[in-house]
């Protein structure tokens, strides 16, 4: 990896943009195999003191790294803009037919006063005609709102909000102007895939209408992931959700399905990684299926009507938290039509 660097104090967006153009032109001249990646712009708004932590997270997303990364680092009391720009090439080994894919990174130190007009700073720094995603892991709602006209995608993590309802409300608000990629939702993807697979054989599809209880086990800080999973079931299966009640540490309640009520329970459990830890789905017939985290994949247990149980492992490697962020970046350019209805149902569940 080799890179060209530019920096300036007390600068302007147009000066930064000119510097970027210069860096790119220089890189083209130096390296004929250089091709700048043109997948997406990612604008990250961070507290300056914690930008290293965010950069570490981004550094671990591997091949899903965005093409042009613009970091707006908010520095308390700052009134002027300082900036660093780099253009780096991934691969400088030249072989026929191979390209050196380049990435561009801009960091702009801004003050809190710049947040409300952040769009005027960021706009010139974006690659035109590429999708732009905004991520503000430290809050900074004003900055995100300022960028709404530029961003077609907003990356959020509903788990970041201390109040579940508030996090989901914010997510739904954002869906009004952008496509929302919610890491809490992505953490439930393997669970949703496996539950869908469980009921996919034609012989099992009828059981979808006979579900009468769903228990979701989740890390204590991951209630949002749990209610989104329940919201997904409710929205896909046509259940009418109702607000859950808190019973001790648990959330419990019911959805109204065609055949009757479906009991919902969310159980917080200590576990290493955020997200879900297990799901149990019971049918009126006495059959049940459950999935729980285990070594090498999910541990599946199926209980038949006669109470006989079978267990096996559904193979799959954990993506880890770095993998989740990478998946979030990748999902930015796809569209999942089931998130919004699941989110709406989840909002009803949290009341």
């Amino acid at each position: 990896m080799s890179e060209d660097v530019w920096n300036a104090r007390d600068t302007t967006p147009s000066a930064i943009e000119a510097a970027l153009r210069g860096l790119l032109a220089h890189r083209y001249q130096e390296d004929r195999a250089f091709v700048p990646a043109r997948v997406m712009n990612l604008v990250v708004i961070v507290d300056r003191g914690f930008r290293g932590e965010v950069e570490n997270r981004l550094g671990r997303v591997g091949r899903y790294h965005p093409s042009r990364l613009v970091i707006a680092a908010v520095d308390e009391g700052r009134t002027q803009l300082d900036a660093w720009a780099t253009v780096a090439a991934e691969d400088t080994v030249h072989r026929p037919g191979h390209i050196a894919v380049g990435r561009e990174r801009v960091e702009v130190d801004i003050g809190p006063k710049h947040l409300e007009s952040l769009d005027t700073i960021v706009d010139p720094l974006l690659v035109s005609d590429l999708a732009t995603m905004v991520w503000a892991p430290h809050g900074h709602r004003a900055g995100v709102d300022a960028l709404r006209r530029l961003a077609s995608i907003v990356l959020i993590d509903s788990l970041d909000e201390p109040q579940v309802g508030e996090g989901l409300e914010r997510a739904e608000d954002l869906t009004g102007s952008a496509y929302v990629v919610d890491l809490a939702w992505l953490r439930s993807t393997p669970w949703r895939e496996r539950v869908a697979a469980t009921f996919d054989p034609p012989a099992m599809r009828g059981a979808l209408g006979a579900i009468d209880k769903v228990v979701v086990r989740h890390r204590p800080d991951s209630t949002a992931a749990g209610v989104l999973f329940c919201g997904w079931l409710a929205s896909r299966l046509g259940w009418r959700p109702a607000a859950l009640a808190r019973r001790g540490e648990q959330l419990t309640g019911h959805c109204r399905a065609r055949r009757g009520e479906v009991a919902l329970e969310l159980h917080p459990e200590e576990m290493g990684a955020p997200g879900l830890g297990g799901v149990t789905i019971e049918m009126a017939s006495g059959e049940a299926v459950s999935l729980d985290r285990g070594p090498g994949g999910l541990r599946a247990v199926r209980r038949a009507r006669d109470g006989v149980q079978q267990a096996w492992t559904v193979l799959g490697a954990s993506r880890g938290e770095a993998g989740i962020l990478g998946e979030g970046v990748r999902q930015a350019l796809l569209r999942d039509p089931t998130y919004k209805p699941a989110l709406q149902a989840a909002r009803v569940l949290v009341g």
């Binding site: 091709v35 700048p36 990646a37 043109r38 997948v39 091949r63 899903y64 790294h65 093409s67 026929p96 037919g97 191979h98 390209i99 894919v101 993807t189 393997p190 949703r192 895939e193 496996r194 539950v195 869908a196 697979a197 469980t198 009921f199 996919d200 054989p201 034609p202 599809r205 979808l208 079931l233 896909r236 299966l237 046509g238 070594p295 090498g296 994949g297 599946a300 199926r302 079978q310 096996w312 492992t313 559904v314 193979l315 799959g316 490697a317 970046v329 990748r330 796809l334 999942d336 039509p337 089931t338 998130y339």
Partner: protein, 511 residues
């Protein structure tokens, strides 16, 4: 991908809507030839990667069948070693152990009925262990002479049908060595399996860039109006390799370039390039259109074909021996290492547009591409002003190694005069997508297990391919006695005869 078929499935199970990874039915995959090179380099690593991604069926079993005597434990250790060596990603020990737990081995000669009895017993035991009958997919990854033997034995053992689950037969290439042998093999296959049970592999179709030919043609309005004889001058399809035959002399000398690449991969590229838009991406709709193109191609006149063999030369800065000096190649071999053909698709869209194919070993560089050259503009207004660089537009779809699409355009050279030279407008997979393309075999194994045949070759497609190639093989066989096999130096662009084939009105693109 059979988008419509999947959508139908999504409608039936409301939970699959929006999921990227669709459910795969519980399956036992039986690999015949499980100790062979293809299984170890491609199939087993592909299965591991599917397991790693959580893409294998919820209930999955793998049974290896091969002639070598060994137990489950030894086979599992071989599988582990192959996966660790050839997987495109680092292995996760727990996932790998979990996968190996589902692996077992049956040593048997492929013509031994006892082996199939043992297989039947094993399959029943696996169903019992799973508590439900599992789909049965037989993957024939053996030498081709065993394909009919295995199929007959599967049928004789009653393993070709099951009242409750799907049974499929996945057959590696080559499907026959000429039209007659392909039809004979098909007769055996059709005697045991219905066509919808048969999945003939051409791994090229599993490549993202090959599938992109369809996306490129049918998802972009700007190309379709010019995709015909009115605007396209000719098409060149190149499958060039810079390497020699390596250690594959035994296989290659029996096969040659025409059978190895042209009959299957390159004719698939022709079909994808020239087919009409299918009404939908259902397997049979796509394959119907491909068959229409292939059956519209008449076998080329022998004068419109070139074969050649490489001689010693320099490749990549190193001395390279000629084909006849490669280890294991017979001294008097007439096997071609280079083939070029001129084809014509005799239909309304393509009449009069030559399609040139060339493939070879030990050429100047490795590249697989489809080059579509448009006709020149009707009037060159700039010619009189010193524009020496005006060239017809070329659209290049590069399959490997630098996957992408480029379009050459005439552009004004900066300056006070109106001078033109070609410039390239390029799309590169490496810079426009973040995802790493899965190995072709991952996609194909998954599709086969899901019963989606879109990326597999149907019987009438194979028949049509051999119908084009068979007369060429016969003509070449007839000429073997006259000692006139042309040659080309290793590391070059091919024989001079190939230039004569395409010229004088056209010329090959530089490799």
């Amino acid at each position: 991908m059979a988008v419509d078929a999947l959508a139908t499935q999504a409608g039936e199970n409301p939970l699959v809507e929006g999921l990227e990874r669709l459910p795969v039915p519980p399956t036992t995959l039986v690999i015949f030839g499980a100790t062979g090179d293809l299984a170890h380099r491609k199939l087993l690593p592909a299965l591991y990667n599917l397991a790693h991604e959580g893409a294998l069926p919820e209930r999955f079993k793998l049974v290896g069948v091969a002639r070598r005597e060994k137990g489950d434990h030894d086979f599992r250790e071989e599988v582990r070693a192959s996966i660790c060596e050839h997987s495109r990603r680092d292995t996760d020990a727990e996932v790998l152990d979990g996968l190996l737990d589902h692996v077992q081995y049956i040593p048997s000669n492929f013509d031994d009925p006892e082996g199939y009895k043992a297989l039947a017993k094993a399959l029943d035991a696996l169903d019992e262990e799973a508590g439900l009958p599992l789909n049965r997919d037989y993957y024939l990854s053996t030498a081709p002479e065993f394909f009919p033997i295995i199929v007959e034995q599967i049928k004789a053992a009653g393993l070709h049908r099951h009242p409750k689950v799907d049974v499929r037969c996945i057959i590696e290439k080559p499907f026959g060595t000429d039209l007659g042998s392909a039809r004979a093999l098909q007769a055996v296959v059709a005697d045991a399996f219905r066509e919808r049970q048969v999945f003939r592999i051409d791994h090229y179709l599993g490549k993202e860039t090959v599938q992109n030919v369809m996306a490129f043609r049918f998802a972009n309005m700007m190309f379709e109006p010019i995709w015909n004889r009115n605007y396209i001058d000719h098409i060149q399809i190149t499958g060039a390799e810079d390497l020699g035959i390596g250690t594959r002399a035994g296989y290659y000398d029996q096969t040659g370039a025409l059978r190895d690449l042209v009959q299957n991969h390159m004719l698939q590229l022709v079909a994808l390039t020239c087919m009409e838009p299918p009404a939908s991406f259902e397997a049979d709709k796509v394959r119907d259109e491909k068959v229409k193109v292939l059956t519209a191609i008449t076998p080329p006149d022998p004068a419109d074909t070139v074969r050649a063999q490489y001689t010693g030369g320099t490749s990549g800065g190193e001395d390279a021996v000629g084909y006849l000096h490669e280890e294991g190649v017979p001294d008097a071999s007439h096997t071609e290492t280079y083939a070029a053909l001129k084809l014509e698709v005799q239909n309304w869209r393509w009449a009069g547009v030559p399609v040139y194919l060339r493939t070879g070993k030990r050429l100047a560089r490795k590249v697989t591409e489809i080059a579509v050259q448009l006709k020149p503009v009707p009037h060159l207004a700039f010619q009189s002003q010193g524009s020496v660089g005006v060239q017809p537009n070329q659209l290049i779809l590069t399959v490997q190694p630098n996957e992408g699409v480029s379009l050459s355009l005439g552009a004004k050279i900066p300056g006070s005069r109106m001078r033109i030279r070609p410039v390239n407008m390029e799309f590169l997979y490496g810079s426009a997508f973040m995802s790493q393309s899965p190995e072709a075999y991952e996609r194909l194994i998954m599709d086969a297990m899901r019963g989606d045949a879109t990326l597999f070759t149907r019987n009438d497609e194979v028949d049509a391919q051999w119908s084009i190639i068979d007369p060429v093989l016969e003509a070449w066989r007839g000429a073997d006695g006259d000692g006139s096999l042309p040659s080309y130096e290793a590391g070059t662009a091919g024989p001079a005869e190939a230039d004569a084939l395409i010229g004088p009105e056209h010329e090959w693109r530089k490799l």
